[in-house]
Amino acid sequence: MTERKFDVLLPLDSSEVQRLHRNMKRRANRGRVWTYLGAGLIVLWILVPLFFLTSMAFTTREAVRSYPKSVLPFIPFSTDTVRFFLDQPGVVDGLWNSLIVAIITLLLSTILAAPAGYAIARYIFPGRDLVRLGILAVRAFPIVVLSIPLAVFFLRAGIFDSLYSLAFMHTALTMPTSVLIIASVFASVPHELEEAGQVFGASALQSFWHIVLPLALPGIAASSIFAFVLSWNEVFAAGVLTLENRTLPALLLVQLQQSSDAYQFAGGFFLMAPSIVFMFFIRNYLFNMWSQVTK
């Protein structure tokens, strides 16, 4: 858009230019202070509720009931609330169910999405953009619309209320994200490396296995983790598709109205814990994914 021609207009050592430069620097420094302040406020906005809920989960039940409340350093640390929550009927089963569904989802979506992501990143085939668009459309369409008919269908097929059918549903939901993340990962591995491998006598499969895959592995792992987190979090479909084999979110959803604060807070903590841990590993890949979509 603009080419740099300023050096032609003004000699660089002129006092005019130096003054401008100083002003810019000062302004930039002042701006930086404001930016840090803003960043700090946003961090507080995000962390304060998280910290509060966590401190409620790790204290005594008396402290949960008390008012006005203080947070962790001032209230007794205790695993009382968490143990109380785990002792409630169905909770441990729900945790297991959630874990199983999330792991099946992780495996399925990675196995299915990895080849597709590779194809989208490497090959130009008819309908490539259509596939990309279609995958995005799946991400955007309401889970609500899918859950009810799937529940009816699963009932008819006799696989209603099974962890597998829920995992299938979750896989369909995570698939778009997985494909896009994996595509962005493969796209970031230079094609030349793969070609170089083939020049030196490796077969296409060998060069994929020994060169591309090791480079792409962290990214693929990130997409798997993302699938895991999505499945762990999903509430609506889990509530609709399960009855006896409730996952943790579905269990919490139906228990919510008739449960104590301690139960809710500890449950909320278990729901959010994986995302706090896993977002750390996958945050950078999220940007790649969206730059794939918006470009």
């Binding site: 858009m1 603009t2 740099r4 701006g31 930016t35 840090y36 803003g38 961090v43 906005w45 995000i46 509720p49 509060f52 809920l53 409620m56 009931r65 008012y67 006005p68 409340k69 999405a113 597709a116 194809a119 989208i120 596939v131 995958i135 955007a140 369409f141 309401p142 609500v144 619309v145 009810i148 008919p149 799937l150 529940a151 549903m169 369909a172 698939m175 494909v179 762990w232 979090n233 509430v235 609506f236 509530g239 609709v240 979110p249 959803l253 919510l256 809710q264 449950g267 909320g268 729901l271 959010m272 995302s275 706090i276 977002m279 950078n284 940007f287 969206w290 979509v293 918006t294 470009k295």
Partner: protein, 443 residues
Amino acid sequence: MLVAPVLIFLGFFFAYPMYEGLRLSIWDDEAVLPLREGPSLKDSESGRLSQGVTVEVLGRQGNLLTDADATDLLTETWFRVAVTQPDGTTVDGWAPESRIRVREEGPDGTPLSGTVRPKLGEPDDPRTTLRDGPGEGGTEVAFVEPRAPAAIVEVAILEVWFNVRGTDPGESAQGWAPSRFIQVFGDEVTGRIDRGSAGEFTTEFIKKMFNDRFFDPAWRTTLLLLVLIIPAQFALALLMSLVIHARLKFNSWFLYVFTIPMGMSDLAVGTLFFSVFTGNGLLNSVLEGLGIIDSPHVFLSSQTRNWIILAIVVAEIWRSTSIVMVILVSGLQAIPDENLEAAELFGASYWQRVRYVMLPLLRPSVQVALILRTILALQVFAVVIALGGGDTVTVLTNETFRQYADFRNNNVAAAYALFVMVLSLASAFFYLRTVRTDTEIER
């Protein structure tokens, strides 16, 4: 092809339910009952009656049942019996279960033998008729005396068919239909079509949804939330992405904290903000600590609808701003640094650079983010349940869930889901038309 598995999977778990959802909401599987010329599926159709029509029952007949799992059907059982007459001769034929008194059963409950029941009262002919086949349609082969011993040779279960006549608005029809579709009243000569066996297009479920007493508050609240959340959220997301774009020290940590909410479930965020807004929660504790209030303020109760909505708005902004930020940051990363440096050299202030350089170049990202966020905001669910219980403040997805889980009405639930989808498509279309990308404007 490498993409094939994904497409097949999505076809099965995405396209199929989509189609099925559409069908559930506008197609009544049990709308009409085809009637037949005779009591058999092989007979040709003589007419159709809609569900709920009152009918005259003109006759009944049993048909040999082929499938075994007929537990909830109206059936008749017939025995093939060998009856020893008083004169010593044996006759063979079929009689209904009601005419034979079973005296001996096998270990598995199959009747083995019995006697012919006497008729009650003083009938003209006390003898029981045997026929050459199960059902009243068989020809008579013999008449046997009451109390004669009978060996039960064979058992047949018949499905009862009714010959009915009824008037569907305007058109009358008569014919045979299996009993499972017809409810016969106590007088045995009238009844109604209980359910049909053939589907028909219907707007009944959609009408039911529009007339549902929760429909109005649900869509109003959903749209209100949309209007309250999206602008505030985009402003905050822009701030967050500018912070990330400034590449401060510890940028990676800021990024981590900013994206935490993205990985959290709406239910978790619901409980999170329940802990903030509840009577003895964080907000009241802080307000009292600052001396602003003397006793805890009740935010979440059925009398404080506006507070609940505010709590939902805050929770949703907290939860879903991260995804907008991620989209905006990846858009910002695509803007060449040279553009911003040039603007700076020409003396543009920071806000001028944001306003005249970044924002116009961010249009495609903003468009994607708007579409995605609007569609996801139409689906807000667990946050509403966690903060408001789902009665005081209700949204469209909550009504879908209520219809499905509480009222067991899949069709109306599907109609609600369809409504959500129509709104989603309309909003996506709206943004595609109004938020034009710069390529269309400048070049």
